[in-house]
């Protein structure tokens, strides 16, 4: 990654130039060794400055991002970035997020790329806008730019709003920007309170679930009881006659009901569901046999990494790891509002990618894309591709069925649990050998997984589209290429081994609906690799932390490992009966944030219950914009990963999903919470932003698996590590 921009460059040397719309950056002194060409971050796709930054006559500065707030604090971080480079109070900035009519197209808010893509773009756009504003002031005041003072949204006390009369910011960005000296920062890297929290905690209408439009009506969609079920018969007369019901909409097997009041929709939909008969065809695998099944299904097999020569034959340590289907299980089921008026469709959605969603809805409805507008409004935390896009598709179809009326579709809990795309079940196998000098001589890793992305995309990604009279077929799944990867994300360890080989078996047949769940394959691959590292360390009779350091060459990786170990007190830790400690480390995607996690657990041999006593993490996310935002994401990732690792698996029978509510899919509750969680940050001012949001999932799982093995003397390799499994492994 190239270091961003001009360290130490300041406002010196800007020369005013009159009249031209083209920015006079050509007169900027070039950096020694600077590169021409590629614009940083998302500027490469949307190079016009005023697509990102606008100055209003009223003094308000509007910043546009194609990314969406998912609860990860991105709005706040982007405001900080813009405020820093524009030299204004954060409260002066209004941030507009993902809206196909107003913001740049930054595809999805996913993969922990918002800071790298949007943050970088806004950083540079804001810096360059500042330069332009300085030039405008210089021209107006007749003072050389380097003598100007920029403070508080004004240049020599002339407010930005007074300097900008028209299209001055409508210029292309340059590859280099005069970024502010990190040492002089006042906003970035400082703890700024989240801009969105106060409204959420006082009942302001923030979420798409809170959106109320004049004349809005309420809809419920009948989801089929299982994948691929066709509607055989529907006697809608009774439901249609219930109080408040406006319409029963049917298109093939897509059935929905619209009513005036929300509860009227709920009760009528129940009656409608009782009057529907379905032809069920789904044949789901035996959930106990899924790991035997995966390697038998046809797969695309790719050697994604090879170094030296890996051996075959005996004398190696081998292990197999398993991960079940797991759910996003967002606390707020998906919701969307849509309005079709004057042949234009507007959809308010919490989907992660408004532009791709627009394309999918356009294809599904037959409307031209320019007549479809998707506006992001927050939903509950999604952690990836959940039901949000499908709810938007439902709403779009119903809005078309009731032109001129805003239609709100709210998924019920059972809808979300049964129909959201899950994180795929995965199987992995590791083989390795340690040499006499205590280093890994050979490391082989292979994994089997479905795709980790079925996002829209085409209309065939939308559940509603499958049910239409003229259905859209789901597109054939494709792997996400390395270095990012999908199921094979983080399958290539950051460690350096003498010989190593990694194989990705991409299984296209999907028995259950799957897509991207936070960290994608990295969660399972890191769990497997970190567990296996401990098994290799044991063979080398080495301390697990020391063993990892032995194989890490990246100094930043070493730093987080050391920090976590030190803060945990790894050296001095004393083993007590029933207690164990474990360590996990990874650099997310081998490209993003570095995270190391050390934890201590206590295992009750008789009940199999695991009490997590302490978790200590260290994280390096590059240049920190909002330190508390990073701590929040890592803490949250640790707790969520603890829930996945100790509790979660989707249950299904031979035909249907049977995890249809919280009773059928329990997650961690307060009594199961770790007793303490600490996060220590390593800041790298001036270094590129590194994505943080998914960085804790895998290392936490690795640390827990290793701690349980240490506490019990028995290695568990099948997720989740439930009390029943622990009991079974331990015996009586």
């Amino acid at each position: 990654m190239n270091p961003r921009g001009a360290q130490g460059m300041n406002r010196r040397g800007f020369i005013a130039r009159s009249g031209a719309l083209v920015v006079s950056f050509s007169l900027l002194p070039r950096l020694a060794g600077a590169q021409a060409g590629k614009l940083p971050g998302s500027l490469s796709k949307e190079p016009m400055l005023d697509a990102w930054i606008r100055v209003g006559a009223d003094g308000r500065i509007t910043v546009f991002t194609g990314k969406a707030e998912l609860g990860q604090g991105i709005k706040t971080a982007l405001v900080q970035v813009a405020a820093e480079e524009l030299v204004v109070e954060p409260s002066r900035i209004e941030l507009v997020t993902a809206d196909t009519a107003r913001t740049p197209d930054e595809q999805y808010t996913a993969g922990s790329q918002s800071m790298q893509e949007s943050g970088t773009a806004i950083l540079h756009a804001a810096a360059q806008a500042r330069v332009l504003l300085a030039e405008l002031a210089a021209k107006r005041l007749g003072i050389p730019a380097e003598q100007l003072s920029i403070r508080d949204g004004a240049v020599n006390r002339v407010a930005y709003s007074e300097l900008v009369a028209g299209q001055e910011l409508h210029v292309r960005a340059q590859p280099q920007s005069p970024l502010r000296d990190p040492a002089a920062r006042t906003v970035m890297g400082k703890p700024l309170a989240r801009v969105d929290i106060p409204a959420k905690l006082t009942g302001q209408p923030v979420y798409v679930q809170d959106l109320r439009l004049p004349g809005m009506v309420h809809a419920r969609v009948l989801r089929p009881p299982s994948y691929g079920a066709r509607l055989k018969a529907l006697d809608s007369a009774a439901a249609a006659a219930m109080p408040g019901v406006l319409k029963v909409v049917r298109d093939g097997s897509f059935v929905a009901l619209v009513a005036e009041r929300e509860y009227q929709a709920v009760t009528a939909a129940r009656a409608l569901a009782a009057a529907a008969q379905w032809d069920e065809q789904a044949k789901l695998p035996d959930s106990k046999e899924i790991y035997a099944l995966l390697p038998k299904l046809p797969s695309q097999n790719t050697v994604i990494h090879e170094n030296g020569k890996s051996a075959t034959g005996a004398g190696m340590i081998e292990a197999e790891y398993r991960r079940p289907y797991q759910m996003h299980a967002s606390i707020g089921p998906s919701c969307a509002v849509a309005l079709y008026r004057d042949e234009a469709l507007t959809v308010w959605t919490h989907g992660q990618g408004v532009y791709p969603l627009r394309g999918a809805i356009a294809e599904m409805t037959g409307l031209p894309a320019e007549r479809v507008r998707c506006i992001h409004m927050e939903g509950a935390g999604c952690y990836g591709h959940n039901g949000a896009d499908d709810a938007a598709a439902d709403a779009a179809l119903l809005a078309r069925a009731l032109p001129g009326r805003a239609v709100r579709v709210q998924w019920m809990r059972e809808d979300e649990h049964s129909w959201e795309p899950y994180g795929p079940a995965m199987l992995s196998k590791a083989r390795g050998r340690v040499s006499a000098d205590g280093t890994v001589e050979d490391f082989q890793y292979e994994l089997w997984s479905n795709t980790h992305s079925t996002r829209p995309g085409p209309a065939g990604s939308l559940a509603a589209a499958w049910q239409l009279e003229k259905p859209f077929a789901p597109p054939p799944p494709r792997p996400i290429p390395q270095p990012t990867g999908g199921g094979d994300r983080n399958a290539i360890p950051l460690y350096k081994f003498a010989n190593s080989r990694v194989v990705h078996h991409f299984v296209s047949e999907m028995p259950l609906r799957v897509s991207a769940l936070r960290a994608l394959g990295a969660y399972m691959n890191i769990f497997s690799i970190e567990s296996f590292m401990d098994e290799l360390a044991a063979a080398a009779r080495a301390d697990p932390v020391e063993f990892r350091l032995r194989h890490l060459q990246d100094p930043r990786a070493q730093a987080v490992v050391r920090t976590a170990a030190e803060r945990f007190g790894w050296q001095a830790w004393k083993k007590q009966p029933g207690r164990g400690r474990g360590f996990g480390f990874a650099r997310y995607k081998n490209l993003a944030a570095y995270t190391a996690v050390a934890c201590e657990v206590e295992v009750d041999r008789d009940s199999g219950r695991v009490r997590v006593r302490r978790v200590v993490a260290a994280n390096d996310s590059g240049d920190i914009v909002n330190p508390d935002g990073i701590v929040n994401q890592i803490e949250g990732g640790i707790v969520q990963s603890t829930s996945w690792t100790l509790h979660e698996a989707v249950a299904f029978d031979r035909q249907r999903i049977t995890s249809r509510d919280w009773g059928g899919y329990p997650i961690l509750r307060f009594p199961d919470l770790p007793e303490s969680v600490e996060v220590h940050l390593v800041n790298r001012p001036g270094q590129p932003f590194l994505g943080t949001g998914e960085a804790a999932q895998g290392p936490t799982a690795g640390a827990l698996g290793n701690a349980i093995a240490d506490a019990t003397g028995t290695r568990l390799r099948e997720l989740p590590l439930t009390p029943a499994r622990i009991r079974q492994a331990l015996g009586a």
């Binding site: 998912l70 609860g71 989240r194 707020g332 809990r413 949250g636 009594p671 919470l673």
Partner: protein, 151 residues
């Protein structure tokens, strides 16, 4: 017509008496605090106070609420003047997506009204009916402790 006391105000509602309070709060009164999380009484996102006790509004029909005092998030404070528990949650930045937090705040309010100085174990136990999917639990606990410390 059913008459309800919501945040100290009498509301006349032309709704089916079997309607759960949650839908009345959101759909009739445009109050956003109580959230739809499951409709099954399993997650606590819809928590409100009835006569000072935490109640799941998604499984409480309005027919049972005549003459009883209903308090929602909006009744604890306003954006300009947030209440004690709301202030504590903001101070601790105890939210990620924030969707579960109103329910947490109401549950905490109920606890603090009965047990002004709960132990950390008591807080964990009391909050166990409320789910958080983002993993904000540690901050939520700190926020409740902080609110308890405030006069």
């Amino acid at each position: 017509m059913i008459s309800l006391d919501v945040n100290g105000k009498t509301q006349e509602l032309d709704a089916d008496p079997a309607t759960p309070l949650l839908y009345v709060l959101r759909d009739y009164l445009q109050l956003n605090g109580a959230k739809f999380g499951c409709g099954l009484g399993q997650c606590g996102a819809c928590t409100v106070l009835v006569d000072g006790r935490a109640v799941l509004s998604c499984v409480t029909p309005i027919s049972t609420l005549a003459g009883r005092r209903i308090t929602t998030l909006e009744g604890l404070g306003t954006p300009e003047k947030p209440g004690r528990v709301q202030r504590a949650f903001v101070a601790e930045q105890a939210a990620q997506c924030g969707y579960c937090i109103p329910g947490m705040i109401m549950q905490a309010q109920a606890l603090l009204e009965r047990t002004p100085h709960p132990t950390s174990g008591e807080i964990r136990k009391h909050m166990s009916g409320n789910l958080c999917r983002c993993g904000t639990h540690m901050r939520i606990l700190r926020a409740v402790e902080r609110a308890a410390r405030e006069p």
